[in-house]
């Protein structure tokens, strides 16, 4: 006998013909890039559960299953046992019990077992290919199970045969939805979950809870990403590289070496953060193509590069001047205007000039510790005022691509620069707000928890705007 599992949570078996995107759908809905997706039919041979868990408690489970291989033979067996509609369920159970050790029907047993244990059916078809009569045996078998079901029309390719599919599927399923796992977004994801909730009355509450949880999960991921990005900027701007030397005079080789080490450490920080972001968004297995943080040739500080990720010289001067003016205005306020607003004017001039001259330099290499006998070269914290915008721009660009990438995709993610991206996230107000913190981080002083939280809030705002 089929073991009747009384699951306390809804379960949904994703079933269908081989190679119609079942695993892609599961991968996209479960945000899991470990699902094996292949053009070769028969890649999935065992059912695999993808539970949505909160603190270990399962709210619902998605089950990836193998495709139907011998649907006509199964249906023929079922139809041999002509029974009334209310007994068909038992016939399917009998089929499973009789063939559970039969390798020939391994795939059918794997996919029918969870259904007979109470899982809802999500039948997947490819709407980019024409409807075929060979699907009818599969749909008929599913009807025999008597379980609540819905159909999902997946679009693997460009062509669209969804109308003919809808006509056919409508005869077997009370709900037919379209879902493209390769281009899924939050709204589409939630819409599918809402449809799944409608399959059975008892599932409405837990699935609605799952939707709320899913939204919270996404918020968590954005929070964690903002935290990682903040750490990257703080660490990169305040980072200091030291190199001890014993010779009397500092030679250029040593200077070059300490500068190279400094740059390499900054690159490593970026790489480390990217890995963290990929892990947060469950894209641990991502393959990507991107240009490393570069400091040479078309470098980080050239105007061309700056216009892609960082600020242009003009923007930088305005930001510097505004930031200086704000500080100066504070002095004016302190003296109740008796400074004739000179504080603001001088602040703007100093800030703007500083920004102009601070455009190209990275950080000065200093010789320290001469009097104490332990001489060393030091580079950092970062002097370049554009660097934080370039680094942050790159990090946000990467995070945005990762966060919006479907887990069903298995191609190489192209993370090449996009000159329009800066306009999407950086406006004048944000630039002014960020500059205040960049100045603080560059100083190398201890940054308090509150300031970090405020900066993190700004980054979170950007990510929410881009991702949600």
């Amino acid at each position: 006998m089929v073991k009747t599992v009384i699951a306390l949570h809804p379960r949904f078996a994703v079933v269908g013909h081989p190679n119609k995107g079942k695993s892609s759908i599961v991968s996209a809905l479960a945000l899991d890039d470990t699902v094996h997706i292949s053009d070769v039919p028969g890649t999935t041979t065992k059912q695999r559960a993808f539970p949505l868990k909160v603190d270990g408690k399962i709210l619902y489970e998605l089950l990836d299953t193998p495709g139907f291989q011998r649907a006509r033979q199964v249906l023929a067996w079922l139809e041999k046992h002509e029974v009334s509609a209310d007994k068909r369920y038992e016939v399917v159970e009998a089929f499973i019990n009789e063939h559970k050790d039969n390798v020939k029907f391994n795939d059918e047993i794997e996919l029918l077992t969870p259904i007979m244990e109470g899982a809802g059916i999500i039948y997947v078809v490819d709407g980019s290919k024409p409807y075929g009569e060979e699907y009818e045996a599969e749909m008929e078998i599913l009807r025999w199970t008597g379980q609540p079901s819905m159909a999902l029309i997946n679009h693997i390719d460009e062509s669209d045969y969804s109308q003919e599919w809808k006509r056919a599927l409508g005869q077997y399923f009370k709900m037919v939805r379209t879902f493209n796992p390769m281009q899924t977004d939050k709204a589409q994801h939630i819409s599918i979950l809402e449809s799944m909730a409608q399959l059975k009355e008892e599932w409405i509450v837990p699935v609605k809870q799952s939707i709320k949880l899913f939204e919270r999960y996404q918020e968590q991921m954005i929070d964690r990403s903002a935290n990682s990005l903040t750490k990257l900027i703080v660490e990169a701007l305040s980072f200091v590289e030291k190199l001890s030397f014993e010779s009397e005079e500092v030679d250029d080789e040593d200077k070059k070496k300490v500068e190279e080490n400094y740059k390499e450490q900054l690159r490593q920080l970026e790489v480390k953060t990217q890995k963290q972001i990929e892990k947060i968004w469950n894209h641990d297995h991502l393959q990507k193509e991107q240009t490393l943080l570069t400091f040479d040739g078309l470098d980080l500080f050239s105007e061309e590069s700056a216009s892609v990720f960082g600020l242009t010289r003009k923007e930088l001067i305005i930001t510097g001047a505004t930031s200086g003016a704000v500080t100066g205005a504070g002095i004016d306020l302190l003296f109740a205007g008796h400074t004739l607003l000179l504080g603001g004017a001088i602040g703007a001039l100093v800030g703007g000039t500083g920004a102009y001259f601070g455009f190209n330099e990275l950080s000065e290499v200093k010789v320290l510790g001469q009097k104490l006998g332990k001489r060393y070269l030091q580079i950092g914290p970062m002097d370049n005022r554009n660097f934080p915008y370039i680094l942050l721009g790159r990090a946000i660009f990467h995070a945005y691509h990762i966060a919006t990438r479907s887990h069903a995709l298995r191609d190489v993610e192209d993370l090449s620069m996009d000159s329009t991206f800066k306009e999407k996230w950086l406006d004048d107000d944000l630039r002014k707000s960020l500059e205040k913190y960049h100045k603080m981080f560059r100083s190398g002083d201890e940054v308090n928890v509150e300031s970090l939280a405020e900066y993190e809030g700004l980054i979170k705002g950007v990510l929410e705007k881009l991702i949600v």
Partner: protein, 460 residues
């Protein structure tokens, strides 16, 4: 909340290998501490303290800190004592100018306390000039140069700059407090053991009335309680000392016994400005240090993640177990052809209607006397009958985009047993003019190769 907690957590964060699940489990089992980060951290610390390597870093550091502080406090006390004795040095020939002592017990404390206040405001700076000006900072640097085993253990310790600055600030206040105590002790000892004639003298054009008014203001904090500790105008007038010639004025000599009255004012000034105010500064530095410890605790590497892990529910959507990809290495031979013949003994189509098969024949320019649709909605019996009727060379159309199922393979194997040759032709959709995409043909090729049959051919 003290430095020990900070150091223990610092050490724990370095060796902590707890998983996200363990941290969340802790958060769930300490629900009452939710939204109380400090209490959560302390409870976590208490639970995992046994993991810390002995001797605890906090103990080593505290011992070191205590040792240094003790040395500096003793040095401060002795310096204060000797400074006081030097300032109150009385040889009986000339009176002791109270201005020097006042400068030491009023002006100097006020100036240093103002600087200390500024350094408190700027304590977050890594390189704070005010901090570096502190004698305690430099005295510690000097002590640190001495060989000491403990210092080796502390080499790798990277203390938060805010906390380090507050440690220096607090210690500075303590040293200054003991320095002032030294001054007070010196004053009391000298007063008790010598008969000192105090006087006041300045090059500045200050008359006795103005000076009295100034001293009256300085004595504001205690003049209501100890009026005798406020010099009277008469005493001030009588104790004004002019260095004209090398002798004292007659009036001073006549009032020698009264000149000693100054000590009460000096003692109260020392007590209030150098000791009480300094003590308040010390209390302020203790408070600042406490706040700094709290901030530093929250700023410790890994703490924000730890708290986040404790307080955020663990939400997972992915599969818990990893599975290996099902790769089949079995390979077989498959015969292929590029061009179809003009006629075949029979044409069959998998899950295609007879009309579709005629259209396909037309499109492929193939002539055949027999056309059968198989698979699809056919019953297994119908298919078996068709196999029995099959013979010779069979052209077998399949939908390229539909991958070969085992149902198809079963049929093909049965068919192959009855005929001489089967040419499988994957076809595309009508929109594709029946031209099959290469990726689909490859899938068919792989599957058919598994059959390893000499009778099965694939049209590429």
């Amino acid at each position: 909340m003290h430095i020990k907690s900070y150091l223990n957590l610092y050490q724990l964060c370095e060796v902590d290998t707890s998983t996200k699940e363990q941290r969340r489990a802790f958060g769930l089992s300490h629900v009452l501490l939710e939204n109380k980060p400090m209490e959560q951290l302390f409870a976590w610390l208490e639970l995992h303290k046994s993991k810390l390597k002995k001797p605890l870093l906090s103990e080593t550091f505290s011992t070191y800190l205590y040792g240094i502080s003790l040395i500096l406090v003793i040095v401060g006390l002795i310096a204060g004592l000797f400074s006081g004795l030097a300032l109150l040095n009385y040889n009986g020939h000339a009176p002791v100018n109270v201005i020097y002592f006042m400068a030491m017990v009023i002006a100097l404390p006020l100036i240093t306390m103002t600087l200390a206040l500024f350094s408190m405001i700027k304590a977050h700076q890594t390189q704070s000039v005010l901090i570096h000006l502190s004698p305690s900072y430099w005295m510690e640097k000097i002590v640190a140069l001495l060989p000491h085993k403990v210092q080796k253990n502390l080499e790798s310790l990277k203390i938060n700059p805010l906390l380090a600055n507050w440690i220096v600030i607090k210690r500075s206040q303590l040293i200054a407090l003991f320095f002032s105590l030294g001054l007070l002790v010196a004053l009391l000892v000298v007063v008790a053991t010598k008969d000192i004639a105090f006087a006041w003298s300045t090059t500045l054009q200050i008359d006795a009335t103005s000076f009295h008014s100034f001293l009256n203001t300085l004595a504001l904090p205690w003049r209501s309680w100890f009026p005798s500790a406020v010099p009277s105008l008469e005493l001030i007038e009588k104790s004004q000392y002019f260095r004209l010639g090398d002798h004292l004025s007659e009036e001073m000599i006549n009032n020698a016994s009264k000149l000693g009255e100054w000590w009460k004012f000096l003692a109260c000034a020392t007590l209030f400005y150098a000791i009480i105010l300094r003590f308040l500064m010390y209390l302020l530095s203790l408070l600042g240090l406490k706040v700094a410890v709290k901030k530093s605790l929250l700023n410790l590497e890994g703490v924000s993640t730890l708290l986040r892990d404790m307080n955020e529910p663990i939400i997972t959507t992915n599969a818990q177990e990893r599975v290996e990809e099902n790769k089949t290495n079995a390979e077989g031979d498959l015969q292929t052809l590029q061009k179809l013949d003009a006629s075949y003994d029979m044409v069959q189509g998998w899950a295609m209607s007879e009309e579709q098969l005629h259209v396909l024949n037309d499109s492929m320019q193939v002539i055949t006397p027999l056309v059968y649709d198989v698979g699809g909605t056919n019953s297994l019996e119908v298919d078996t009958e068709i196999i029995h009727k099959s013979h010779g060379e069979v052209l077998f159309y399949v939908k390229a985009w539909e991958p070969p199922t085992m149902d198809f393979i079963d049929y093909l194997e049965a068919l192959v047993a009855s005929v001489d040759k089967v040419i499988v032709v994957p076809v595309g959709t009508q929109e594709e003019q029946y031209h099959a995409e290469t990726k689909f043909v490859d899938i068919w090729a792989k599957k058919l190769a598994f059959l390893n049959s000499e009778k099965v051919w694939l049209k590429l």
